[in-house]
Amino acid sequence: MPTMNMLQAINNALDMAMASDERVICFGEDVGTFGGVFRATSHLQERYGKARCFNTPLVEQGIVGFANGLAAQGAVPIAEIQFADYIFPAFDQLVNETAKFRYRSGNLFNVAGLTIRAPYGGGISGGLYHSQSPEAYFTHTPGLKIVVPRNPYQAKGLLLASIRDANPVLFFEPKRLYRAATGEVPDADYQLPLGNAEILKEGNDVTVLGWGAQMTMIEAAVEMVENEGVSCEVIDLRTLLPWDVDTVAESVFKTGRLVITHEAPLTGGFAGEIAATIQERCFLYLESPIARVAGLDTPFPLTLEKEYMPDQWKLHDAIKASIEF
């Protein structure tokens, strides 16, 4: 099996999607000749021509509006937003249009084929506007699916599933891991299910939940606490909307404890929704308050980024506090 980094796996998935369905079209700022500023769309224009892979003018509301129309016509658009921080000019198109196309028309029309890809997250010295994790703005929007992969294998399988899913999908890519995460990725065409969390490691004392780049922080923290005798169950949520309540609740029935982490600010973050739902389901089984390890309630900083990040040491302490409650 070949080894790929996350960008190569994403490029491979896009290539496969374009090869297997000629309705698949990739576009966005700099995605054409250049192959995207991160090179996720490298060689696609060469292989499939300018009509199916092209640069757009620099206008995000245009990119997503165009993608909505193209999807309504029956094509399978994959639009790239260069950084998740720059998705906001397209907020209206996503929230009022993409998410509501099917509902408002009684499914006379829909944008089933649409996928929006956007790199998100910090840890790259990007400061305020190249670091944000905007998922929670969109988890508040019924009609969208939201998917976040944690490694190259997951990225390929989840992206192919997103492209072929009969709903619009926002696919947030952890750019800190674009080149840092490498792993075996099958050459074959495969899909991983949307809406299913994955248990990465079974354990008894506490459930630790995250998605995307935070899974590397969880991995490091779990290694530390396990050396101190704590048994952790680790879950990657993978799809944030609609999310897999059953898998998380089953785990918490067993462990009685839950620690959730994301990079986005604490207040209004998706961990709050998970905590509320799990305490409803598992109230009598909980041994300690559900803990959230998240970004501060501030914009994303630069010089003090390390201090801001919800890292393995903060997770370590939160897990220990949950156990010792």
Partner: protein, 403 residues
């Protein structure tokens, strides 16, 4: 009632594509830096001309040194103005020093012209304790209230409608000031650009929209950005005054902006200026242009270097000499290096800067988060050298890393 201007009735069907509105390019200096024959020498006196020229040379030196520093790993990011110094500085020099500047990010020359000190540049670039932006933004996101230069924001084009609003406030204040906003031809594709121009003519706002058409938006060539004759003809759609100018001709840029300012301030006519230029350097330190354009194309534009052209004009008038040039270059290079060393050594901003300025005061909930963070850093000082330094914890003897 029709709200369009009185429209004649015709009985012959004809569609128009606006092709008759091709705009010429205003220029005073030829490619060599010699005034076109038969035109009057522009009204740029010696002191001002030299002020402009020094700012252009300084900007070039700063860019060269800081890009080199970025390559050495001393800086996380850098972005050059190279090739566009005449456009940015020629325009700035045509304004009143207290007119507002709302720039995109490639306009460090405007700050240099207004007297932003080398140390002020360096403190921002290194995000140290003296950075006005408190180390929160990436390098090159300068700002100066004193010099009327709005702090840079990375999301493109957001400053353009803000400039319209700022200038409307200036009009109401009645002190005769205007706002200039700079942006690339790429950013001009954003909806914000169109909103800004429309509101400016509807409300007759003293604002100058200055488009640096440098041929590229990262890798995207201008021909893939628009199908029209550049950005300038869009002004007609909003009934706005417009001029296209050779952006590498400092005299033409200065003259055009001076007149634009007069129209804006005296007649409340907003103006669009499209300066045709070329981004001679990479988009930024993260970019490699060899993936999307040829060396040959770059070389053709290097010949039109705006600094070379202005220098020739100055020397022809005996306002400048090679000796003065060499002395100036040497001084700037030395000053930049010395300032860089000072800025690098300074401490990071204090830990409190993480939570200040989110609001006028730190809300209780955020204060709790901050207190928890401080306690955490005290438990793991070796993991957070900057935070620990700010808290006065000497962790030089601590073992590095825990896992």
């Amino acid at each position: 009632m029709s709200s369009t201007a009185k429209s004649n009735v015709v009985n012959v069907l004809e569609f128009l594509d606006g092709d008759e509105y091709r705009l010429p390019t205003f220029a005073l200096l030829d490619q060599e830096g010699v005034l076109y024959p038969g035109i009057d020498a522009p009204s740029l006196e010696r002191d001002k001309a030299l002020h402009i020229y020094r700012a252009m040379v300084f900007t070039r030196v700063l860019d060269e040194r800081m890009m080199a520093a970025q390559r050495q790993g001393r800086l996380s990011f850098y972005l050059q103005c190279t090739g566009e110094e005449a456009a940015v500085i020629g325009a700035t020099a045509a304004l009143d020093d207290s007119d507002m500047i709302m720039a995109q990010y490639r306009e460090q020359g405007a700050l240099a012209y207004r007297g932003f000190s080398i140390d002020e540049f360096m403190n921002q670039l290194f995000g140290n304790d003296l950075d006005y932006g408190r180390g929160r933004q990436m390098p090159i996101h300068y700002g100066s209230a004193e010099l009327h230069y709005m702090t840079i924001s990375s999301p493109l084009a957001t400053q353009i409608p803000q400039a319209t609003g700022y200038a409307y406030g200036q009009k109401l204040a009645g002190e005769g000031h205007c706002t200039i906003t700079f942006f690339g031809e790429g950013a001009a594709s954003e909806g914000d650009f169109h909103a800004a121009l429309n509101m400016a003519t509807v409300h007759r706002v003293p604002v100058i929209f200055f488009c640096r058409n440098n041929g590229y938006a990262i890798s995207t060539p201008a021909i893939e950005q628009y199908a029209a004759d550049g950005v300038a003809p869009r002004a007609f759609g909003y009934r706005m005054h417009v001029v296209r100018v050779d952006g590498n001709d400092v005299l033409a840029v200065h003259e055009a902006t001076r007149e634009a300012r007069r129209l804006a301030v005296e007649h409340h006519h907003p103006v669009l200026i499209e300066a045709m230029t070329y981004r001679l350097a990479a988009h930024s330190s993260s970019d490699d242009p060899s993936g999307y354009r040829s060396r040959k194309e770059e070389e053709a534009w290097r010949v039109k270097d705006p600094i070379r052209r202005m220098k020739r004009w100055l020397i022809d008038r005996s306002w400048w000499s090679e000796d003065e040039e060499n002395e100036l270059l040497e001084r700037y290079r030395r000053d930049v290096l010395e300032s860089m060393k000072r800025a690098e050594k300074r401490p990071p901003p204090p830990l409190e800067s993480l939570v200040s300025d989110v609001y006028d005061e730190v809300p209780l909930r955020l204060q709790e988060q901050f207190d928890a963070l401080e306690a955490h850093i005290r438990r793991y000082p070796e993991q957070y050298p900057r935070g620990a330094r700010s808290l006065g914890i000497d962790n030089t003897d601590e073992p590095q890393g825990r896992t």
